[in-house]
């Protein structure tokens, strides 16, 4: 019995509290979402599918990943955002455009969005229509 208790105590001490990426991977497997800093002030959050390939990519100005419920997004210039789109989902991956971005525009006060549809992807850009570059 003492040996058993000693073994249990050893195992409890040997399995670290998962507080690093390595430990968390070991305990819970591959993450379904990861965020990378792709520019000093811009992050890319990727959600993977069951095949561990990217399904959704969200590029936005850097802000805390875990924060309070009131979010105040920053902004990226139109030119930079289109460059980043081509970087994270190159045109050859997206395939032929069937509905180009900016061929449509939805507006509500200062907020707006435009959507695009390609052969293999859909793109959506959130717009701030009031702020000047």
């Amino acid at each position: 019995m003492r040996v058993l208790l000693a073994c249990v105590a050893f195992l409890a001490m040997a399995s670290p509290v998962p507080q690093s990426s390595f430990d968390l991977h070991a305990r819970y497997g591959e993450p379904d979402v990861q965020r990378f800093a792709i520019r000093p002030d811009v992050t890319m959050t990727v959600e993977y599918g069951d095949d561990h390939k990217a399904c959704i990519i969200d590029v936005q100005p850097r802000q805390a990943f875990i924060q309070g419920f009131l979010r105040r997004p920053g902004s990226i210039s139109k030119e930079t955002s289109l460059q980043l789109l081509d970087e994270v989902a190159p045109p050859e991956v997206r395939g032929k455009d069937t509905m180009p971005l900016f061929s449509n525009l939805f507006e509500s006060s200062c907020a707006g969005s435009t959507g695009g549809i390609s052969e293999h992807a859909q793109e959506s850009l959130g717009l701030n229509l009031c702020e000047t570059p």
Partner: protein
């Protein structure tokens, strides 16, 4: 047209298996991720934000939702308390939290919500998605007090509610 692109701004959704990029491809191109989300129970996710040393600085345990869904619609499904507590004890076991220091103060806290609990090494915050009574817990946040986490916003000041 003078347009500025705002957050949540650019979403590319692969509809077919044409996008070959995997986690390893992104590691190679951009280095280690600064945040990750793990599925820790069938319907429960653990989001982790790392500090500069690669150790966890903030965690949130909450019901699993697609990134797309949580970006498009602001919803806070109710979290199963028992399972959240189990996961909380896995990632921040009571014996590692240090001495309990008492209740903390949270900027913008809902009326009737319990205050954060301050420990020597962590702060634990129960979060509630709406003010509907009775309050229903939507997530639990764990903030680590390591020196490497000093650069991240604190929950106790208004910056907790603002972008970095």
């Amino acid at each position: 047209m003078a347009l500025r692109i705002v957050a949540g701004c650019l979403i590319a959704i692969a509809l077919m298996a044409a996008m070959p990029l995997t986690s390893n491809d992104y590691y190679a191109r951009y280095g280690k991720p600064d945040a990750e989300r793990f599925i820790v129970r069938p319907d429960l996710a653990l989001s982790v934000e790392y500090g500069p040393d690669g150790g966890a600085c903030k965690m949130r345990i909450e019901p699993r939702q697609s990134l797309m869904y949580s970006m498009a619609i602001w919803t806070n499904p109710t979290a199963p308390v028992d399972e959240v507590t189990q996961v909380l004890n896995e990632v921040a076991p009571p014996e590692t939290r240090g001495k309990e220091l008492g209740p903390g103060k949270l900027f913008g806290q809902l009326a009737g919500a319990p205050p954060p609990t301050e420990y020597q090494n962590v702060t634990i915050i129960q979060e509630f998605g709406s003010s509907d009574k009775p309050l229903k817990m939507s997530s639990v946040a764990v903030l680590f007090k390591r020196p490497e986490c000093e650069s991240l916003p604190k929950y106790s000041d208004p910056n907790w509610l603002k972008p970095q």
